[in-house]
Amino acid sequence: MSDRSQLISSGQPFTFDSARDAEFERLIKRYPIRESMIMPALWLAQEQEGWLSTEAIAYVAERVGTYPAKVFELATFYTMYHLKPVGKYHLCVCRTLSCYLREKQEIVDYLAAELGLRPGEVSEDGMFSLEEVECLGHCGTAPVIQVNGEFHEEMNVEKLKTLLAGLD
């Protein structure tokens, strides 16, 4: 999301759960150098916790065998890594070319008004976060949004109403 310069502590120790530990061990055999595991490990950590805390970054560095600064560098460079908690429902609206031409602004404006959020914000109850993102690769069914990674295509206000009603 917006500020990508700081890490936040969760106040809790971090370790992979057993499923993610097994996936880490499966994947590390596929790469000739351990650093290649930084991105996959960051994904595993984010899937588990929803975001990447100071503790998660330090844990990934330890598991991979590198410096926390190196892991932090990648976590800030790649914008899909969340450096602070996002909402239970994380809504991403595509803002680029074809979605722009197919009136993505109506989608952004409706969601912003309905959720009381500006893009980049998380609702106070932690239920929703809203983000405008670059091209999502669904230009033929524009405008599109993602809710927790799941695509919703050919969106309009009516479909948004139904979608939001189903999120609780």
Partner: protein, 426 residues
């Protein structure tokens, strides 16, 4: 006009499942493949005229030929599934509707170039697509099409999916390699080219998903059968993504060489809402725009696009209707490339930000006549002065809008000047 070569299985229910795909011929080329000499496989692909479908259009077989001979290092194949050029959404169909065609293509390519380790770099946003692809790979391992002995032959092949995390620049092939190596996606200076010094400093071939997925047809039916589609220099078929202001946007497989306007009118239903055409972006957001006059004479192949001073690119065609505000469209594009700059080269990192500030000045009503010249000058000073072509991917189209739709930029200036009192009050 539509053909079904790559998309043959796309409409079949559960075509992503091995069981279903096999019924429709998946992995059918492997017996023939392993009876061939790898050099003959490369020759067949060269003869097919298959060109890289990621955007650059470089002949695939020729690229493979750049690998050094008898080097005592592993050779890698990286499959570029980053697909993040705005208006490009074709590879996604292969990933979810026929992943086994791509895996079969990977086997063909790796056998030809002598590689035993392949990485598929998929963009982070493709979540459900990643799941389907990984399931297909798991099925292929279980069925013995991947692993220690591919289809019972003495040939090991491991395929690993590496997930990106939201950086457009990782579609650039050396940034993609950096990313797999666990670094920021910042492109490398070339030469050396990846075929010589690539992933983990080893010889590496990087091919687009659609290029790889074209291989089973070429090996099964032969180069001539592939050449039966398309033109002399632009052979075969392409998955075109048509979006923007058309009645029937979507992905269509077409032979190369068809007239653009015929495709837009007959396949994509024409400009929507009965409106007039203002322009066409022919191959992804980085390709220079075509005016309606140009759109009426261009054909969908690499040569005709070059003659029209634009590029075939990724086959992502965007239609702009008469209501499009070109200045605001350009703002949208510059904002994209500025956001996606990796920050490595000053002209790109700072220059695209400067261009964005200027275009926003126009929109705010503060544009000045010499700002148009300043933008053009910036384009010249940014382009080709950076390690990779991301900056040019912004300046080339921006220059085309400034040249072909200059009056729209001027009207922003004139309207802001028309009532100086009011604009001061604002």
């Amino acid at each position: 006009m539509e053909v079904k070569i790559l998309s043959a299985k796309f409409d079949i229910e559960d075509s992503h499942r091995l069981e279903v795909a096999k019924k429709h011929g998946a992995y059918g080329t492997l017996e023939k493949l392993f009876a061939m000499d790898p050099a003959d496989v490369i020759e067949e692909v060269k003869n097919s005229g298959l060109r890289g479908r990621g955007g650059a259009g470089f002949p695939a077989g020729v690229k493979w030929g750049f690998l050094p001979k008898d080097l005592d290092k592993p050779i890698y194949l990286a499959v570029n599934s980053d697909e993040s050029e705005p208006a490009t959404f074709k590879d996604r169909y292969i990933l979810v509707r026929d992943p086994h065609m791509m895996i079969e293509g990977i086997i063909i390519c790796c056998y030809a170039i002598g590689s035993h380790d392949s990485y598929i770099y998929i963009r982070g946003e493709y979540t459900s697509q990643l799941k389907i692809l990984q399931e297909a790979i798991d099925e292929a391992y279980e069925a013995g099409y991947l692993g220690e002995q591919v289809a019972g032959h003495d040939f090991r092949l491991d395929v690993t999916v590496h997930r990106g995390a939201g950086a457009y620049v990782c579609g650039e092939e050396t940034a993609l390699l950096e990313s797999i190596e666990g670094k920021k996606g910042q492109p490398r200076s070339k030469p050396p080219f990846p075929a010589v010094v690539g992933l983990y400093d080893c010889p590496t071939i990087i091919n687009n998903v659609q290029s790889i997925a074209s291989l089973p047809f070429i090996i099964e039916k032969g180069a001539e059968a592939y050449r039966a589609y398309g033109t002399e220099k632009s052979a075969g078929t392409h998955l075109f993504g048509i979006s923007g202001h058309v009645e029937k946007p979507g992905m269509y497989e077409l032979p190369l060489g068809l007239p653009l306007m015929e495709v837009l009118n007959e396949v994509a239903g024409g400009v929507w809402k009965g409106r007039q055409l203002k322009g066409v972006i022919p191959g992804g957001s980085s390709t220079p725009v075509l005016t309606p006059e140009e759109a009426h004479t261009v054909t969908l192949d690499y040569e005709s696009m070059a003659e029209h001073k634009t590029m075939f690119g990724s086959g992502g065609i965007v239609v702009l209707d008469e209501t499009v505000d070109i200045v605001k469209l350009v703002e949208n594009l510059i904002a994209f490339y500025h956001h996606e700059s990796c920050g490595q080269c000053t002209p790109c990192r700072e220059g695209l930000g400067w261009m964005l500030k200027i275009i926003r000045k126009f929109i705010a009503g503060d544009g000045r006549e010499d700002d148009i010249e300043l933008l053009l000058e910036l384009c010249d000073n940014i382009e080709m002065k950076t390690v990779c072509v991301l900056s040019a991917a912004c300046t080339m189209p921006v220059r085309s809008y400034l040249e072909k739709f200059r009056h729209e930029f001027e009207s922003y200036i004139n309207s802001s000047n028309s009532d100086p009192v009011q604009s001061q009050a604002e």
